[in-house]
């Protein structure tokens, strides 16, 4: 009688454990699916940041405020913007492209020295930098080859003519 009772209790326990095991598997599956979705979502937002960095690189090459034509920056416009001071220039650019943005442009003129373009030294310069934030790490950016139209390209005896240089644009997000 006692052995039969114990056997009966084991059967009940077996049944309960089996049920709990099935429930645990289902909960585990739900947990896995939720984590998987979160990882996918995270990967998507990471991709979005890279997309934004790429977009910024393309965008600044296309806004007529800075360029002569698509893919060709105007050095006069860049220097005019830089001469407004870093905070105003950045304020202007952020109003166009959003926050946490930076851009640098270096002309490949064979000169190893990087010379920031200012009101005083224009056009004898080869570098512009906007929205520099020393407190933040440049997180995601693209480096793209671009053309730069130099309004004061050649100073001839009678006239001043333009020329086109090649430069490297670095644009991205902090």
């Amino acid at each position: 009688m006692k052995t039969k009772n114990i056997k009966g209790q084991y059967s009940v326990l077996e049944y309960v454990f089996l049920s709990l095991f099935i429930i645990a598997i289902i909960i585990g599956l739900m947990f896995f699916l939720t984590i998987w979705s979160s990882i996918q979502f995270g990967a998507e937002s990471m991709k979005t940041e890279w997309d934004r960095a790429l977009w910024l690189g393309q965008y600044v090459q296309n806004i007529p405020l800075l360029v002569k034509e698509t893919g060709m920056f105007d050095d006069g416009k860049l220097t005019a913007l830089a001469s407004m001071g870093p905070s105003k220039a950045c304020e202007y650019l952020e109003s166009l492209a959003g926050p946490d943005f930076f851009m640098e442009l270096r002309i490949l003129d064979g000169n190893e020295t990087q010379i920031n373009c200012t009101w005083q030294n224009y056009p004898d310069c080869n570098y512009w930098e906007f929205c520099k934030n020393t407190g933040k790490k440049k997180k995601k950016f693209y480096t793209l080859p671009v053309n730069v139209y130099r309004r004061i390209g050649f100073k001839l005896q009678e006239t001043t003519t333009g020329r086109t240089d090649i430069g490297i644009l670095k644009a991205g997000v902090y």
Binding site: I23, I26, N62, L65, T79, L81, M84, R151, E158, T159
Partner: protein, 375 residues
């Protein structure tokens, strides 16, 4: 005879099964909503990327992904800072000038206003629609207004999209006005001279769905025509217009002022503000912000370049200097004018701005003609 253990198994089984079923149904419901939101967010994100590509390239395209899900709750909020596309899947910011009207299939097209020293690019993302004009004042000024609006719209001839233009005369609306077929942009512009010979009565016809009625009449007042944009023609190019449902009288300076109101339409939000009014304000805000930067840069650049040109009166540079100096003065005036965020609410400012922009355009063209600047 059923044993106690069998009874226990049955009751326990029912309880466990009910719990599992409930949990699974509940979870699968939430999961499918989550997945659908994710797909919708992706579709909206793809839309933004496509519109950005159009902004860069100027190549128009049809975006069809909105037809895959129900986006009826999605709305464009251009007056938020930055402008947002709001849906149940979340909010998405927009950093380039965009006039977006939701539809299953939208045609994305880039338009521009060219001031020579600066171009204002904007993107229109529009579903199939009919823009119906009712030129009660059949005058050259009225036709000029219509032409200005139509020129900024996309030409959908040869595509599957149907953005058409038509005319309404009293209770009659002509659907096939261009040689027995609906008028696409270029058809309408080409056929204008044949239309202008007609006398038009105030429109009372029932118009097809997705229509925008544009009334042009010197008699426009608030409530003159229902569900329409009512424009008072002006010889100077600066005038007034009304949007049904908005109590205000608006000022237009260029065709995009009118087009933005037309595209927005007369539908009101929960606060009673029409989408047309929002689009009009958005256009002027973003235009003002960008014009301020453009004029500031142009003024400084003119000064910068002038200082580097050969000052010798014998030099060809000499002819550039005076025009650059003039351009610098004009663009500085433009900058100070648009520094006031509400510049577009004052007729005198709008007239002044129109004149200054015209002068700046002429100055820049003069620089191009003299070989001092690029086109």
């Amino acid at each position: 005879m059923i044993t106690l253990f069998q009874l226990f198994k049955m009751i326990f089984g029912i309880i466990v099964a009910a719990f599992i079923l409930y949990a699974l149904l509940n979870y699968s419901g939430s999961y499918s909503v989550f997945q659908e939101s994710g797909i919708k967010a992706k579709i909206l994100n793809n839309f933004r990327e496509t519109a950005q590509d159009v902004y860069y390239s100027g190549n128009a395209i049809t975006y069809t992904d909105f037809s895959a899900y129900d986006f009826s709750g999605t709305r464009y909020e251009p007056l938020r800072n930055p402008p947002l596309i709001v849906s149940e899947a979340g909010e998405m910011d927009i950093w380039f000038p965009l006039f977006f009207v939701m539809g299953e299939n939208v045609y994305i097209h880039r338009g521009s206003l060219d001031y020579k020293f600066w171009k204002f690019y904007f993107v229109e993302a529009l579903p199939d629609m009919n823009i119906i004009f009712n030129p009660v004042d059949n005058t050259p000024d009225a036709w000029e207004i219509m032409q200005g609006i139509v020129e900024l719209m996309p030409d959908t001839a040869g595509t599957e999209r149907k953005i058409y233009f038509g005319l309404c005369d009293g209770d009659f609306y002509e659907t096939n006005a261009c040689g027995g077929k609906p008028c696409s942009r270029n058809d309408f512009l080409n056929a204008q001279s044949t239309f202008s010979a007609t006398r038009f009565d105030k429109c009372t016809a029932s118009l097809p769905q997705n229509s925008r009625l544009v009334v042009i009449s010197s008699g426009c007042t608030q409530g003159y025509a229902n569900s329409s944009i009512c424009i008072i023609p002006s010889g100077s190019g600066v005038g007034n217009f009304y949007i049904s449902g908005s109590p205000e009288k608006f000022i237009y300076r260029d065709s995009l002022d009118l087009l933005s109101a037309v595209l927005g339409g007369t539908e009101q939000d929960a606060f009673g503000k029409t989408q047309g009014e929002k689009f009009y304000e958005y256009k002027n805000r973003i235009f003002g912000e960008r014009l301020k930067i453009a004029s500031d840069i142009t003024a400084k650049r003119s000064l910068l370049v002038t200082g580097r040109l050969n000052p010798d009166t014998e030099s060809t540079d000499y002819y550039c200097r005076s025009v650059y100096i003039s351009l610098e003065g004009i663009t500085n005036q433009i900058k100070s004018l648009v520094s006031n965020r509400n510049y577009y609410t004052n007729t005198a400012d709008q007239t002044n701005l129109k004149n200054l922009l015209e002068q700046a355009k002429l100055n820049y063209q003069e620089l191009v003609n003299r070989g001092c600047e690029y086109q």
